[in-house]
């Protein structure tokens, strides 16, 4: 069970690619404190980057306005990060994440990477109601 708010770092970043590295710094710092390995942290950095990049690409019609809300929730041996926007939303049922796109196809790889690089992930979204992606990475020896 995730603990209540007490052990949460809440971050709001502008919807701009230059803040991707800032979001990753926090994955590194908070993930290391939670006991993730370097490999775990590296994978989580990519997963979180994908979720934030999707906000920039899709949530606000590709405009770099608005902001992205990140919630970092460390627990012993694991880190959960939520990436939330109040943008366009989408129907998760329509996005296949059971296989990567065919080789040679550009795009469509982001959520599949999130799934493969994390221990669990959840998409909460609906057209018109914004999106929340919850990603959990556990410690692997």
């Amino acid at each position: 069970m995730v603990k209540p708010n007490e052990d949460q770092v809440l971050v709001t970043i502008p919807c701009h690619p230059r803040y991707l590295s800032v979001a990753r710094l926090l994955v590194g710092g908070i993930g290391a404190q939670a006991g993730l390995s370097i490999d775990d942290v590296d994978d989580m950095k990519v997963a979180v980057s994908e979720a934030i990049t999707n906000v920039m690409d899709h949530a606000y019609g590709g405009e770099l306005t608005g902001s992205v809300v990140l919630r970092y929730r460390p627990a012993p041996g694991e880190l959960t990060v939520e990436v939330e926007d109040t943008g366009a939303g989408f129907d998760p049922a329509k996005i296949p994440t059971h296989a990567p796109p065919a080789p040679g196809i550009e795009g469509g790889l982001g959520l599949y990477l999130v799934k493969e690089l994390s221990d669990s992930f959840k998409v909460e979204s609906a057209p018109g109601s914004g999106t929340k992606i919850t990603i959990t990475k556990k410690h692997h020896a």
């Binding site: 991707l20 980057s49 080789p103 550009e106």
Partner: protein, 132 residues
């Protein structure tokens, strides 16, 4: 992130360092486009100094390999960091992009692709056509 390109005989080496994400992929795209535009057909993309690659970085490489293939060229990638290799593996692009851990292997993959291309051209030119 840093990107640079340098010519060697028949190929161009593109070196990338840092984190390859949506903030930095445009710089990679620019240099790959520029090289192809200037006539480069064989690109060795050295990602040994890349700490992290996101899907947008893989996407730029796919875009370039598609363009190179359509022009009769190809590219190969050198990459050693486990986390970067994992992204190529998961994306299923290791073969398309000729991702290799050793520089010599990446060069060999590119050389092979070039020889294949040359023998195809030779055949297309008439010699041995339909014979092998």
């Amino acid at each position: 992130m840093k990107v640079s390109a340098r010519n060697e005989e028949w190929l161009v080496v593109v070196e990338v360092a840092g984190e390859l994400d949506a903030a930095t992929a445009p710089a990679l795209r620019a240099i790959l486009d520029e090289q192809i535009h200037q006539g480069a057909r064989w690109l060795l993309v050295d990602l040994q100094a890349v700490d992290l690659i996101a899907s947008v970085g893989v996407g730029e490489l796919i875009r370039s390999v598609n363009e190179l293939n359509s022009l009769g060229g190809d590219l190969a990638v050198i990459c050693r960091r486990p986390n970067v290799l994992r992204v190529f593996e998961i994306s299923g692009t290791g073969e398309l992009l000729h991702v290799r851990q050793a520089e010599a292997e990446a060069r060999a993959a590119l050389e092979q692709a070039r020889q294949r291309q040359q023998s195809q051209c030779a055949r297309a030119g008439g010699e041995d056509h339909g014979q092998a």
